[in-house]
Structure formats: structure tokens, C-alpha cells
Amino acid sequence: MKDSFFRSMTWLHTWVGLLTCWIIYVIFFAGTISFFRDEINLWNQPAIHNVQAQTDRVAAQRMQIVKGFDYLSHHGAGSNSWRITLPEQRIPYLVYGYAEPKEPGQRRSKFINTQLNPNTMQELAPFVDTKGGSFFYRLHYQLYYLDAITGRWVVCFASFFMLLAIISGVVIHKRIFKDMFSFRRNKGVRSWLDAHNLSSVLALPFHLMITYTGIITLIFMLFPYPALTTYDNGMRGFFNDVSPSNNVTNKAQGSAAMLPINNILDQVYTKWPGADIRSVRVSEPNMAASTVTVLVDPGKELRDQTPRLLFSGATGELVDQSADELTKSKALYESLNSMHTGRFATPLLRWLYVLGGIAGCVMIATGCIMWAKRIRERSKGKASFGLQLVEGLNLATIMGLPLASCAFFIANRLLSPTLAERGDKEVTAFFLAWLVAGVIALIKRDKLQWRVMAAINALACLSVPVVNALTTNGNIVSYLIHKQWALFTFDALFLLFSIMFLVQTEKLRTAKNNVKADSLKPSTHQKGE
């Protein structure tokens, strides 16, 4: 450890950042994409591309639920669980689903889902098997090809390192406000430092919030001891205590006819007039112990748990409900959790979250590139194994992830709809493309390889809307004409990325080979590294 506080902080910032920057980059990259989880799900399912958003969505919900109960009474009569998922602003279709009986050893029941167009109440064409936005969502918080719990621990440790790096970065960057609006172009490492500082400062509240709340989302895995010592059955007891649950009818025996769902809906609308219902879940239908859970949209409220009412399916009695007023500790936990996920966000705030996420990616990428550039300047041509490793990981991660994401979306369009485990194949395409980037980085990591990767990425990004246009009935122009904004934005973004990668290719081609070694004046930030 260095002999002064400032130098210690610089040392800490450099090493906690460097050790985890690539994994943090993956987490930020996947997390940023996950803010568009529903839009990715939409793009990945051509069967719902032409489903128009309902103009009277909330008003039609009662009819959709009543029809759903009729449908499930016929088709899911023997099932122990029904689910009606209503259209939302970002999810245009309606789903009626019932659980199949579990196979021996199976943990969760498989649902048989029927998707409908809510405007016509007609069944939609069969959905293709796709991981959709959920892949990026899970990659964000539990990585992939790892046991879920192990993955979450890795993400937690990386997040701790990130938090340390952010705090120590603020401490060491003495000129944080003086340099706030400064970006010096074409100044070698100085430009990289400016880009690093700028991307850090412009979204500093976001970086701090998203990292801290990210750790909070997994707090019960990190710190389960209060719950373990308070409840006899540990975490399960704790979660049962904080979630509305069926403690009334679960001991009732025998079968009993379901009460008409209108009776229950009347109670819901009496309590919450004009409620925007998200879903209705029925457990043990046609049994005396049946329950009907109605979940409603919390709107812009910063709470993670969806407000819900739990009724007896046989008598219509209100069994339990989510708290209208949260306790202070629960309100704090829920608000922190919901701030991280941003599920409540309107399109405007969602885009602001994405901007923060992109700034985070730029901050991490510029940080690790800057470290490698400085060490290379000092090493005067003799690259150590450590430097080569860092340069290789930089190239493979920063340029590999966009390529892998393009491969994921292209695979979604090119794989046969009838292919077994099709969703897993999309994921395989993602990791194979990333592997290709890794192999390129393994061979060499010079400017040429960065240029090659930029050119490949430009082509890959261009391929996404092109392949989409060739394999579905729509394309970027038709999306614009028919005001299918989510699909249009998706394709337009890939075109924009393609142009950006082309510009990068050109810049790398024309950039001088050697930047002035003295371009970076000695600064306090630099001295400790």
C-alpha cells in the first residue's frame, strides 16, 4: 500500500478497476440492453409484429379475464394452476396459460400457453422458441454457463469492486468539477482520460445508484443472517411473511365450484377504481382451497412488488393483500430495488437509464484501454504477458460483445422455427461469435485487429435489419410507415451502430501510429499508476 491516502486511493482505483473491468463491462452491457427486454422479446417473435396496441386496453381487461376463465375452464380443467397475462403498453398480446402436471423430479410446472391478439381475440401464429430479452437479463445478474447462485456471487463481488472503483475514482479525480465539460481530442492518452472522466462524471449519480442498488437486489443472498436467525424456516419464512399469501383457505378440503370471476373483479375495481390489471393467477382451480390473485400495475410508484389482492376462488372472500402503506424498511428496500430494475419507467426515463448504461460502458472501456496504453508507452515496445493479456481481454470484450449480440439476433432469424431447443442455439451463436473475437484477440491485439473487429461489427450490425427484412414480412421502412416504433427503433439503432463502427474503422485507418508520448501532462491521477 502506498504511503499516502491519495496514492492509496489511486492504487485502489487502478487495481479494483482493472481486475474486474471486463466482467463489469459484461454486466453493464447486458444490463443496459435489458432495459429493452420487452422490446427485444417483441422483435424476436415475428408472430406478434403486427399486433396493434389496444386503444382501450384497460377498459377491455374485464372482458379478457372473463373469456380467459371460460377458456381455461375448458382447456385446463385438470390443471392445478391457471394464468391470464394481460397486454401491457410494451407487451401487445394476451396469454391464457395452464400448468401441466409435473414430471417426477421437475421443479417447476411447464405452462401450456395460448397467445391471442387482444384486438380480435384470435389465436396468434405459434411462437418460436427464443430466449429473447431474458437472455441479456439473466446474463446481467447471474452470467451464463455457471450455476445461478455462483454467477450471482461473482456479479456481487464484481459490483463491490465497481463501487470501490467509483468512490476511489471520485476521491482521486481532484479536478472533477474543473474538468467537467472538457474533452481534448487527438491528444493520445489524455483524450482517453478525458473520455473516461467525462463518461464517469456525466452519469455519476446513475453509476453510483445502479451499482449500489444492484448489490441491494441481491442483499438477501449476501446477508441472510437476520432472516435466518428470526425465522424458524429461514429465508422461506421471511419471504412468506413479506408477501401476501394464502393462510386461510389452504387447509380446505375437497372440490368446490369457482365463483364467477366478475364477483372478484367487482371487488378489485371497488378497491382500485380504474385499475390496470397485469395478470390473474389461479391456484388449485375448482377446489375448496383455490385462490385467485389479481396483480395490478403500480404505475410510477417506486415499488418492486406488484400490488395484489388474493381471494378465495370458491367464496370470493378477500384472503390477503399487499400493503397499501409500506413500512419504512420495506419502502426503502422496494424503492432501491425498483430504481435498479426501472420497471416503472416511462419511455423517456427508460432512455435516460440507457444513456446512463452506455456512459457506464464507455467509462469502463476507456478505463481499461487507457491503462493498457499507458503501460505500453512506458514499456517502450516490450509488452509483458500481463499487458498482452489486458490488451487481448480489452479487444475480446469491448469489440466482442457487440458482435456476439448481433450473432444472437441474426441466429433468431435464421434458425429454423422447428429446431429443437432453438432458444439455446441462439445463445450458442452468441458465445461462438464472442469466441471468434477472443481468437482474433489471441492472435494479435494491434490497431489492425481493432480495425478488423470494427469492420466485422459494422457488417454484423448492418446484417441485423437486413436479415430481418429478408426473413419476415416487415422492414425498417414498413415499421416507419405503420408506426411500429419499437421495431423501427430496434432496426434503426443497429443501422446507427453500423455507421458508428464504420466511422471507427475509418478513424483507425487514418489515425497516426504513434501519439506523442508527452501528450499527457503529469497529473495527480496519473502519478500513482
Partner: protein, 110 residues
Amino acid sequence: MELLTFSLCLFGFNGFALAKFNHFKDVFKKRPTELQRKQLLIVAWISILLSLVIFVVTQGSYGALLFCGFMSVSVLIITTFYNLLTGYVKLFSVLNAALITVSGLFLALK
């Protein structure tokens, strides 16, 4: 409402940027006096705090989140103008002030 609060936020950061010697010199070809710097900083603080207050009063905690996002966008826009489009900063500042006036008037009349 979002337009007014965003323009106020942008105006605030514009003031902070102009209060810096180098940026002021880039735009007006002369160094600011100490009084000018203080005035710019006061206007910037009032503008940005007003933006925060309007957000929180009208939208509560959701507004605070929007404010954080708008701060990021504002810094990005201001940095772009002061580093890449310095010649347009005066015009941009006038448009920014006009936007505040128009959106404020629109809200008042509504």
C-alpha cells in the same frame, strides 16, 4: 413540464460551463471578470435547483430520477457544444433561454 425542467437544467449547466475561464474565453474571446463569474454561478445554481424542485414537487421520487437523467443529458450536450461546436454556443444559449420562456409561458397559460 419536462421541457421546462430540462431546459432549466441545461441552462444551469450552461452557466456552470461559462463560469469557467477557458470556456468563457473560447466563446467571448476574453476572460470573464470575477463579478461575471459569480453572476453566472448564481444563475446556474438557481436554474438547476429550480429544475430539481419542479421535478420533485410535480413527480415526487420519480421526478428525482428524471432529474438525474436530465443532468446527464445536459452535461453531454454542453460538453459537445463547448468542445466541438464552440462557435454555436451563443446561439445555443439564446435558444435555451427562449425554450425556457416559451415552455414556461405555455405552462402558465395552460
